[in-house]
Amino acid sequence: MIKFQYDRAADVTDAVRQIAADPEARFIAGGTNLIDLMKYQVERPPRLIDISRLPLTSVEETPGGGLRIGALVPNTDLAYHPLVEQRYPILSSAIMSGASQQLRNMASTGGNLVQRTRCFYFYDVTMACNKRQPGSGCAAIKGINRINAILGTSESCIATHPSDMCVALAVLDAKVHVTGLSGSREIAVVDFHRLPGDTPQIDNNLRRDEIITAIELPAQGFAANHSYLKIRDRLSYAFALVSVAAALELESGRIKTGRLALGGVAHKPWRSVEAEAALRGQAAGPETFARAAEIVLRDAKGFGHNDFKIDLARRAIVRTLTQAANATPQSQADKRIR
């Protein structure tokens, strides 16, 4: 483990002041990703600012019928919150599909958003990685890239964002509330994470002086017709090879609103507005779902070991949309895929 200075933030304003004054410091909340990365010496912050005691742990209803979730609500508490289970079951399901109960008890909502990729080459400091060391190259592109991205990749990075929670937040059109030196702003979850381009070292659009304070869910929760299907190399406690979040609003068998996002395939939760447009007004059936899958994956590109992900994603999209339409969401305990 590296050595570092440790400080606590007294409140949000103090946290922002401290992080702005020290460009190499990092916030720590749950620590489940950062401490791991520090042990591997992938992250070497000279100073940690502990934000875990800030009063950002409430879940409150908003005047518009949505929910405002404090950034420090543990993942478990969020997944088990009665209002989330009732109104946004796809979010509960996605959270419960990720990590282990011990990690979910520690991990915070805000920290889940800013967790880093699990690309093997990012974690191995002896390998080239543009995300870890800009300009050093990408060892994954010609390496063992089974877990890597098939959508939105660049010549400098094929890493994926590992979160399950964020895939559900993307279909729910959640917003991220952040506070920085110049005040507070909102960022749509779909605009929060970035594609790698030629700056893969920048995971998201959070500024250096900003702290995530809350996640806001709009009123529409797709509680009737939704599913989160996660495909991985073992049945639990593994990152997604491909995951799909599907949410439908149906009206006499036709799709009024369809939402679709994928995890494990890109540098960000992958939402396809074009595929969603192709769902709108159509019969909720296999032909419609297959067409949507074709649109999502039209520009998909494999890198050898991960070529299988394209077909896997196509089938997973159709399966998850079918589960959503039939109101038979994937169970995260019973592993049979129906």
């Binding site: 020290d22 720590i28 401490i35 042990k39 000279p46 100073r47 478990t76 011990q102 990690l103 169970s331």
Partner: protein, 171 residues
């Protein structure tokens, strides 16, 4: 690292006082901020029941209860838990009587080498306190953070079910 932050890190006090209530006893430790809760328990308090397996949050051998919730002590800085109540495998028995989970693990031979066992038992104590697992599938899923390389999973499941019944679903 910039010169400014390098000098800040070097000027930092090397140790911090942390008070923990471990298995019902208050302990004040003077530790470096980079000490994990796992290392504080094992190396400073001599509570070696909690095991260091992967040290990366992937195996669950280091599972302890902090304020009643199961967590990975290897990914927790002890300084961040100042004031918390920690329960380790050593704290589960009462006056020489084994905790129902400890007894159930013996009854069902729910281990081979035993290295993962303290983590399995602390995790199961957390699981029972959560009250979410009712079916075998649910128990398996919510225990997936504890790896057993010997593969004693069927016996671990049976032991947890026995303890759950014995405890009436409560911790």
């Amino acid at each position: 690292m910039s010169d400014v932050s390098r000098s800040a890190a070097m000027a930092a006090p090397a140790t911090i006082n942390v008070t923990l209530e471990v298995n019902g006893r208050s302990c004040t430790l003077t530790i470096a901020p980079w000490t994990t809760l796992l290392d504080a328990l094992r190396d400073r308090l001599g509570l070696t029941g909690t095991k260091k397996g992967c040290d990366q949050g992937q195996c669950g051998a280091c599972t302890v209860l902090v304020d009643g919730r199961r967590i990975n002590s290897c990914l927790t800085l002890a300084v961040m838990k100042d004031g918390a109540k920690v329960t380790t495998i050593e704290g589960l028995e009462t006056d020489g009587t084994l905790h129902p989970l400890q007894q159930a693990f013996i009854d069902h031979d729910a281990f081979q080498c035993g290295y993962c066992t303290p983590g399995q038992i602390c995790s199961a104590a957390g699981l029972i306190a959560e009250g979410k697992a009712k079916t075998p599938d649910q128990i398996r899923e919510l225990m997936s953070g504890n790896i057993c390389r010997c593969g004693a999973y069927p016996n671990i499941l049976a032991a947890i079910q026995q303890a759950m019944t014995a405890m009436g679903g409560k911790s």
